[in-house]
C-alpha cells in the first residue's frame, strides 16, 4: 500500500493507525497499572510523573485504562464493520448478480431500512437488545448492512457491463466462474474503501452508545463509557473526559484519513 503513504493525509492516517494498533495489540501489556486499581490518595488528579494522564474519580490511572480499553474499542469498530460489510456485501452481490425480481425486492427492503436515521436505528435496536458490547456491535452491524448492500450492488452492476465480463460471457464461462473470477475481484475495491471509513463510524457510534449507557457497561474500560462515567467530574478534572474523548477522535480520524487515501489510490480520478 505504499501509494497510500504518498499523500499527506495518507501518511498521517497511517501513522495514527499504527499508534492505535500498537495500543490495541500491546496496550494491556504496557499499561503501568492495573486499570481497575484504586489509588485512593490520588483521586481526580491531572497528569503527573506517577500518573502520566491523570486519574479518575476512583483514583484509577487514566493511561492504564486508556491502553486497556484500546483493544475493545478497536475490535468493536472492526467487528461491527466486518459483520455489517460482510452481510451487506453478500446481500448486495446476490442482488446485483441475480438481478430481476430478487434484486428489486431486496432493494425495496433495504430502502425501507435506510428510511431511518442511522443513529436512531442503532439506538432502537440496541435498546431492544438490552444494551451491552455484543448487542451494540450487532446493532451497528445491522445498521451498516443496507448501505453496504447498496454500494456492493452498484459495484457489481458497474463491473457487470465491463468488457472483460462480457468477454467471459462470450467465452461461455459459467455464471459462478464469472462472479468469482471477474466480478468480485473488481468490485472489491470500493467495498474495502467504504469499509475502512465505516470503521471510524462504527467506533464513534460504539463510543456514543457506551456514553448513553447502552453499550459497554462498567467497569469496562471502553472509551465512550469512560467519558460517561467521568462526566459528573469533568469540571473537577477535565482530563478524565478529555483523554478518552481525544483517543476516540484520533482513532476515528486515523481510519478516516487512511480510508480516503485508499480511495485516492483505487480511484485516481478523484485525486485533487
Amino acid at each position: 500500500m505504499p501509494r497510500a503513504l504518498k499523500s499527506p493525509t495518507g501518511l498521517i492516517g497511517t501513522v495514527l493507525l499504527l499508534i492505535v494498533f500498537t495500543a490495541a495489540l500491546f496496550g494491556p501489556l504496557i499499561a503501568p497499572y492495573d486499570p481497575q486499581l484504586f489509588h485512593v490518595q490520588a483521586r481526580l488528579q491531572g497528569p503527573s510523573r506517577e500518573f502520566w494522564l491523570g486519574t479518575d474519580q476512583y483514583g484509577r490511572d487514566l493511561l492504564s485504562r486508556l491502553l486497556n480499553g484500546a483493544p475493545a474499542t478497536v475490535l468493536f469498530g472492526l467487528g461491527a464493520t466486518v459483520l455489517g460489510v460482510g452481510a451487506g456485501s453478500i446481500i448486495g452481490v446476490i442482488a446485483g448478480v441475480a438481478g430481476g425480481r430478487t434484486d428489486s425486492i431486496v432493494m425495496r427492503i433495504l430502502d425501507g431500512m435506510l428510511a431511518m436515521p442511522e443513529l436512531l436505528f442503532t439506538l432502537l435496536i440496541v435498546s431492544f437488545l438490552g444494551g451491552g458490547t455484543a448487542q451494540a456491535m450487532l446493532a451497528v452491524a445491522v445498521t451498516f448492512t443496507p448501505g453496504m448492500a447498496r454500494i456492493s450492488r452498484s459495484a457489481v452492476l458497474s463491473v457487470r457491463t465491463r468488457e472483460y465480463v462480457l468477454a467471459a460471457q462470450a467465452r461461455g464461462e459459467s455464471q459462478a466462474w464469472i462472479v468469482g473470477r471477474e466480478v468480485l475481484p473488481n468490485a472489491v475495491a470500493p467495498i474495502i474503501v467504504e469499509a475502512t471509513i465505516r470503521v471510524s463510524f462504527a467506533i464513534m457510534i460504539g463510543a456514543t452508545l457506551g456514553f448513553l449507557g447502552l453499550g459497554a457497561q462498567p467497569p469496562s474500560t471502553e472509551w465512550g463509557l469512560m467519558v460517561a462515567e467521568a462526566r459528573q467530574f469533568m469540571f473537577r478534572n477535565p482530563w478524565c473526559v478529555a483523554v478518552p474523548g481525544l483517543a476516540i477522535a484520533i482513532t476515528a480520524m486515523g481510519f478516516n484519513l487512511f480510508g480516503d487515501a485508499l480511495r485516492d489510490v483505487f480511484d485516481p480520478k478523484r485525486n485533487h
Partner: protein
C-alpha cells in the same frame, strides 16, 4: 419529476412507517418488563403490578393493543403517554418544535459557514488555508457529538468561567435572547460534524468544476475570474452540496438525540431516551415515526431540489 413518482415515493414511506411501527410494537411486547413495572419501580409487588397494568391497559393482548393504537393513529389520536399520562400529541408536539428549532439553527449556521469555507479552500487549493480547512474537516468528522459537547462544556461552561449556560432551555416566547444563548453550545456541537462534512464536499466539487473543460473555456473567453466562479463554477458545485446536506439531515436527526440528552434540551431526542428508559411505548412509536417522516420528507425535498437545479438528473 412526475406526480406518479412522487406518489410512489410517499407510498413507500408509508409502507416503511407501518413496518417500523409493527416492529417496534412487537419487540417491545416481547421484552421483559413494561411501563407499569417502570412506574412502580421497587413498589412493584405482584398485586400492584397487576393493578397498574390494568390501569394502563397493558393487560390486553398485544394484538388488541396494537390495533387499538393504530386505529387511533389513523384518526389522528396518538394515545396517552404511559409514563406521563398526557396526550402523546401534546408531549411529542412540544418536543418536536424544540428539536426543529435547534436543528434549523444548526443547519442555517452550518450552511452559512461551511459553503464559504469550502469555496475558499477550493479557490486557494494547496495553500496553508486549504490544508487548515482540510485538517479541520478531518478532525470535525472524527469527533463524536458527545466528545465535542463534553469538551465545549469544559471550555465554556465550567463553574469557574461561565461564558455560556451548561444546558437547559428557555422558550423563545419567554426570552428570545435567552433561547439563543442556550442554543449556542448544542447547535455548535450539532453543527461541527456537518460543517466539516459539507465544507469538504463543497471544496472537492468546486475543485472538480474549476478544473473542468467548460470553466477553462470560460476563462479562455476572457470572462473575469469572479464571474466564472459565481456564474459557472458555484452553481454546478452546489447541487452535490445540497445532496450532502439532505443526507446529513439523517445524521443531524441522530446527533440531536445525543446533543439534547447532554444539554438537557427538551426535544424529541431527549424524549425518546426517556420513553425508551420508561418503556413508554406510545411515545417511542410517535417519536420514531415522526423522525422517520422528517427524514423521508427531507430526502424527497432534496431530490426535488436537485432535479430542479440539475437538468441531467431525471426521476422516472
Amino acid at each position: 419529476m412526475s406526480l406518479a413518482y412522487l406518489l410512489r415515493r410517499l407510498g413507500a414511506v408509508l409502507i416503511v412507517l407501518c413496518v417500523v411501527s409493527v416492529t417496534v410494537f412487537a419487540i417491545t411486547a416481547v421484552l421483559p418488563g413494561n411501563a407499569a413495572l417502570m412506574i412502580l419501580g421497587e413498589n412493584a409487588s405482584a398485586e400492584n403490578l397487576a393493578a397498574m397494568e390494568r390501569q394502563l391497559g397493558l393487560d390486553r393482548p398485544v394484538v388488541v393493543q396494537y390495533f387499538d393504537w393504530i386505529s387511533g393513529v389513523v384518526q389522528g389520536d396518538f394515545g396517552t403517554s404511559l409514563r406521563l399520562q398526557l396526550p402523546v400529541s401534546q408531549v411529542v408536539g412540544e418536543a418536536f418544535w424544540n428539536s426543529m428549532s435547534l436543528a434549523v439553527i444548526a443547519l442555517v449556521a452550518v450552511t452559512l459557514i461551511a459553503i464559504p469555507m469550502g469555496t475558499f479552500a477550493a479557490l486557494k487549493r494547496g495553500s496553508i488555508w486549504d490544508l487548515f480547512i482540510g485538517l479541520f474537516s478531518y478532525v470535525g468528522t472524527a469527533l463524536p457529538e458527545f466528545v465535542t459537547a463534553t469538551l465545549l462544556l469544559v471550555f465554556f461552561a465550567a463553574p469557574s468561567r461561565q461564558y455560556l449556560p451548561a444546558g437547559g432551555f428557555v422558550a423563545p416566547g419567554e426570552d428570545l435572547s435567552g433561547f439563543f444563548v442556550h442554543a449556542i453550545l448544542p447547535a455548535t456541537t450539532l453543527g461541527l460534524i456537518l460543517m466539516a462534512h459539507i465544507s469538504r464536499q463543497v471544496r472537492s466539487e468546486l475543485a472538480d468544476v474549476l478544473s473542468s473543460d467548460f470553466v477553462r473555456a470560460a476563462r479562455l473567453k476572457g470572462i473575469p475570474e469572479g464571474r466564472v466562479i459565481r456564474r459557472h463554477a458555484l452553481p454546478n458545485s452546489l447541487t452535490p452540496a445540497i445532496a450532502v446536506i439532505s443526507l446529513d439531515i439523517g445524521y443531524l436527526l441522530g446527533g440531536i438525540i445525543v446533543v439534547e440528552e447532554i444539554f438537557a434540551w427538551p426535544g424529541l431526542g431527549r424524549l425518546l431516551i426517556y420513553a425508551l428508559q420508561n418503556r413508554d411505548l406510545p411515545v417511542i412509536q410517535a417519536v420514531t415515526l415522526l423522525l422517520a417522516v422528517v427524514y423521508a420528507l427531507s430526502n424527497l425535498v432534496a431530490d426535488i431540489v436537485i432535479a430542479k437545479l440539475d437538468p441531467r438528473v431525471r426521476y422516472a
